[in-house]
């Protein structure tokens, strides 16, 4: 028996203790029970399914746009619908797919497992954040299907999105959807930070935290600093629109540029919020499939931290064309270029890891390697954008569309698929079909390049973004047709993945605890893990927990099995600190989420909804925080001096 397996077995635990644990941690069944789940894996799966559904919706919208642009002067979609569709596509992909999937879904599901604990910190807040996210997404799509879809772009620049130029409720729905999704992301950020810093397995000191967990934690910090800026800017927009404030109205002393600063102060970090989890995934998978410890753990970690810091100092490169002072612009050029150093460091470390390892090309590795082809090209064309003069030419053209799809699909979607192929066996207990995975990969890879590479050239040939049609006299016809063809391949590829997913749930090969021979703690438990994650909480002996585990790796004992007890540890060295009782199933989160939604959605239509909304939410929170007699009794009983 290898040490890896031993760390994962629960042979020492008595059977009836396991049954009690099962009873304590079980998610209630039934329709109503579904609304009371607070286990991180249940909520994480919901985040994944919902975000993937929005990914598909965003993909359908993209396909419609490609259909419209496949030939010049096409009348398939009019400007009104096209503008709604491209706005919905951008908003869906950024706010309802990329951040919820790359950050919320993966972090909520994986971080507690990877740090070796039984639940995420603040489980009820976690459930609440999911419902808030879901309601925000549904609000946006309810608007779209009732012909009130936002049509001002995912950035909603004022004054176009202001009361004078976009009457009706379209922009309000967009602005409030932002509030929903960012509130959700902020809540998850707090949970992830607390989980990483206070709930790690004993022995997992700061310098032993898996890179994926670090990535999500760094992203959580970015969320905390970036999201308030966009919530502020969209709320000010909402105020301009509903109660006639003049934050952005130049006629009354407001400033249209202020909005852009606030939006991009969030908007650029947003990109890194999306792709830093991707780099965390790539680091994890490259290490596993190169059969080698990651080279340059510290360098990669510092690169991610560096990217996160610098990411807040380069928002102005989205605004070079607004005519800011030259000296200031040069500063932002330099800052933008600095990101290359951080990202380059990670890439070089990965290359060295493979160079000195033994590379096994399984589907997760293929998708991770696509990062090199696609993300790096996107990153390099980003260098062109950092340069002010060149940016003045390519800004707001299809070159930018090409660039950020290379960065975001290369930096998030390919790593996401890598992650799904990699961790799905842990989630469902079965492996996805490898042959189908390879078809998926090659079709997606080729389709992606066919779709987006020609857009570089379209941009250089002068095709601006966000145009619903173009004259046949312009030399853009063939490349647009090529791009639309590529979109077909991508669609087929994603369909293959979906079919593969449904096939594998029943027929996939049984995965076992650790099908990839990987090093992180989630592979120490069964696949899928029991509701309590680990029968006995693991301890950690090195940076690669399972590879470094000794044959007699100790386990944590002494946690009560009659209540949802978790182990809290110290921030620096993860020494055991105390035991904490987490709340069990409760409908409070969804009640609070409904109250919050009434508040948010009500204020779209009338400012009078403000105070009733606040009071309603306040009542929900009051119930939430009301002390529970049973829990405090249990706590009293456990106090040592009582015995």
């Amino acid at each position: 028996m290898t040490p890896v397996e031993q760390a994962g077995t629960a042979s020492v635990v008595e059977v009836d203790s396991l049954q009690r644990l099962e009873q304590t941690w079980k998610d209630p069944g039934g329709f109503w029970g579904w609304f009371t789940h607070v286990n991180h894996r249940s909520i994480g799966k919901r985040f994944m399914v919902t975000a993937f559904a929005f990914f598909l919706a965003g993909g359908v919208l993209a396909a419609l746009m490609r259909l419209q642009l496949s030939r010049p002067e096409n009348h398939f979609l009019g400007p009104d619908l096209y503008n709604q569709i491209f706005t919905m596509h951008g908003s869906t992909m950024m706010f309802l797919f990329a951040v919820p999937m790359m950050f919320e879904a993966l972090a909520v599901y994986l971080v507690p497992l990877m740090v070796g604990n039984r639940n995420i910190c603040f489980p009820r807040l976690n459930a609440y954040s999911y419902y808030i996210y879901l309601f925000g997404g549904l609000l946006l799509y309810a608007g779209f299907f009732t012909n009130t879809g936002p049509d001002v772009g995912w950035f909603a620049y004022v004054p176009l999105s202001g009361p004078d130029f976009t009457p009706g409720k379209r922009a309000d729905i967009w602005a409030q959807m932002i509030t929903f999704t960012e509130l959700s992301a902020l809540a998850v950020a707090i949970e992830v930070i607390c989980t990483t810093f206070k709930m790690r397995a004993p022995g997992m000191s700061l310098n032993r935290i898996p890179l994926f967990v670090w990535a999500q934690t760094i992203v959580a910090f970015m969320v905390i600093f970036a999201m308030p800026a966009v919530m502020l800017s969209s709320t000010m927009l909402l105020l301009d629109r509903t109660v006639n404030t003049h934050f952005y109205n130049p006629a009354e002393g407001g400033d249209a540029i202020l909005y852009q600063h606030l939006f991009w102060f969030f908007g650029h970090p947003e990109v890194y919020i999306i792709f830093i989890p991707g780099t965390g995934i790539v680091s994890t998978i490259i290490s596993t499939f190169s059969r080698r410890r990651i080279f340059g753990y510290t360098a990669i970690l510092l690169s991610m931290v560096g990217t996160a810091f610098v990411g807040f100092g380069l928002w102005v490169h989205h605004m070079f064309a607004t005519g800011l002072p030259q000296m200031g612009e040069s500063f932002f050029t330099a800052a933008s270029l600095m990101v290359v150093i951080a990202t380059g460091t990670q890439v070089f470390c990965w290359l060295v890891t493979m160079w000195t390892g033994k590379v096994v090309l399984k589907s997760p590795m293929l998708f991770a390697l696509a990062f090199f082809f696609i993300f790096i090209m996107g990153g390099l064309t980003g260098v062109l954008m950092a340069s002010v003069p060149v940016d003045l030419q390519i800004h707001d053209t299809f070159f930018i569309v090409a660039h950020f799809h290379y960065v975001l699909i290369g930096g998030a979607v390919f790593p996401l698929f890598a992650a799904l192929y990699y961790w799905m066996p842990k989630i469902t207990g079965r492996l996805l079909n490898e042959a189908a995975a390879k078809w998926h990969f090659w079709l997606f890879f080729i389709g992606f390049n066919l779709t987006f590479f020609p857009m570089h050239i379209l941009g250089l040939r002068g095709m601006p973004r966000r145009i619903y049609t173009y004259p046949s006299a312009m030399p853009w016809r063939n490349l647009n047709l090529l791009a639309s063809t590529g979109a077909v391949l991508m669609t087929v590829a994603v369909l293959i993945f979906i079919v593969n997913f449904f096939w594998h749930v029943k027929h996939g090969e049984i995965a076992g605890n650790n099908p990839w021979g990987a090093a992180t703690l989630e592979w120490a438990t069964t696949s899928p893990p029991p509701v309590y994650n680990f029968a006995e909480l693991p301890t950690v002996n090195g940076r690669d927990a399972l590879w470094d585990a000794s044959p007699q790796q100790p386990i944590v004992t002494g946690l009560d099995d009659d209540c949802r007890q978790v182990l809290m540890t110290h921030v620096m060295d993860a020494d055991p600190d105390h035991r904490d009782e987490f709340p069990g199933p409760t409908p409070i989160p969804i009640i609070a989420a409904i109250a919050t939604s009434i508040f948010f959605i009500g204020t779209i239509f009338t400012a009078k909804a403000f105070f009733p909304g606040i009071i309603l939410t306040g009542i929900a929170l009051l119930i939430w925080y009301w002390p529970k007699r049973q829990a405090s009794l249990r706590r009293r009983k456990r106090e040592i001096w009582q015995r």
Binding site: L160, L337, R461, Y468
Partner: protein, 343 residues
Amino acid sequence: MKRRLLFGTLALCFGILFLASCHGNQSALNSAGPQAARIERLWWLIFSIILAVYVIVLLWLGTALWRRKTTVSLNTFPPPQKDLKPERGATLVVGGAIGLTVLLLFVILTASVLTGHAIANLNSKNPISIDIVGHQWWWEVRYEATQADQTVVTANEIHIPVGQPVVIKTSSADVIHSFWAPNLHGKRDLIPGYENALWIQADREGTFRGQCAEFCGHQHAHMAFFVIAEPLDKFNAWLANQVSTPPSPIDPLAKQGEQVFLTHTCVMCHTIRGSGAGAKLGPDLTHLASRTTIAAGTLPNNRGNLAGWILDSQSIKPGNKMPPNPLKSDDLNALLTYLQTLH
């Protein structure tokens, strides 16, 4: 093998496509002025650097895979052993690569800042000054003069003399637009509440198409303009014609057309100097017939298109601000005749 083949094909395709991209009337890589030319040079410099880096990284990856690929099942691997000795070689390689990256980035930064300074303005004491005002969804073009009656106001066509620096002052009447004539210079946003300026100069004759580059609502797609660079004497003749007030129509049909213009909704939005129509919501039509296109570069300016546009512009450019004008055919005919006299 498949991977290397794919990589080779991709690289070849990319190369060809990039070379093929430098043509076209609205191309950023087909410069007709000093600023666009400088940007183009900078573009090629950065492009060659990043292409080289891309190729090197992919070769590095390809070699790593080729050297270290194995097909052994993952489960049979023992857990990798802990490496206690410092990996000095690998550290040197990564350090060197980072050093090279920093060096290249400095080259790019320096070149970029220098180019930025060079294109910021052209040295000229007395440049031609043109005001561009963005509207949803057309461009107001004004050649201001010291005497008010010498000011020229036109739309969607910017005439400039070849070889002379021109300063373009930008502003917006409604939302944010972006002025972009790629053959001459990069973009400049037209932001309500802000006035901006950019310098352009055409080094050769030609008609250079430009287009709004900042999303500005429904008809963002149909907001083009033309920069017409012509020799100085031709430019002066054009300017003199634009300054002049068109003579009152003599032809009875055109006279009737003028009455149609003045008694229908046209007069609510448009100006035709000399006729009494002076509204400023829509484009100035004083010399409409001298322009080559209508509706911000959407249609060629001919009788048929003009008729279609007047009757139902919404079917051509949905959402634009001009209402449909269901004129009787006699009236329409007269109006068209009148408009076509406005040279």
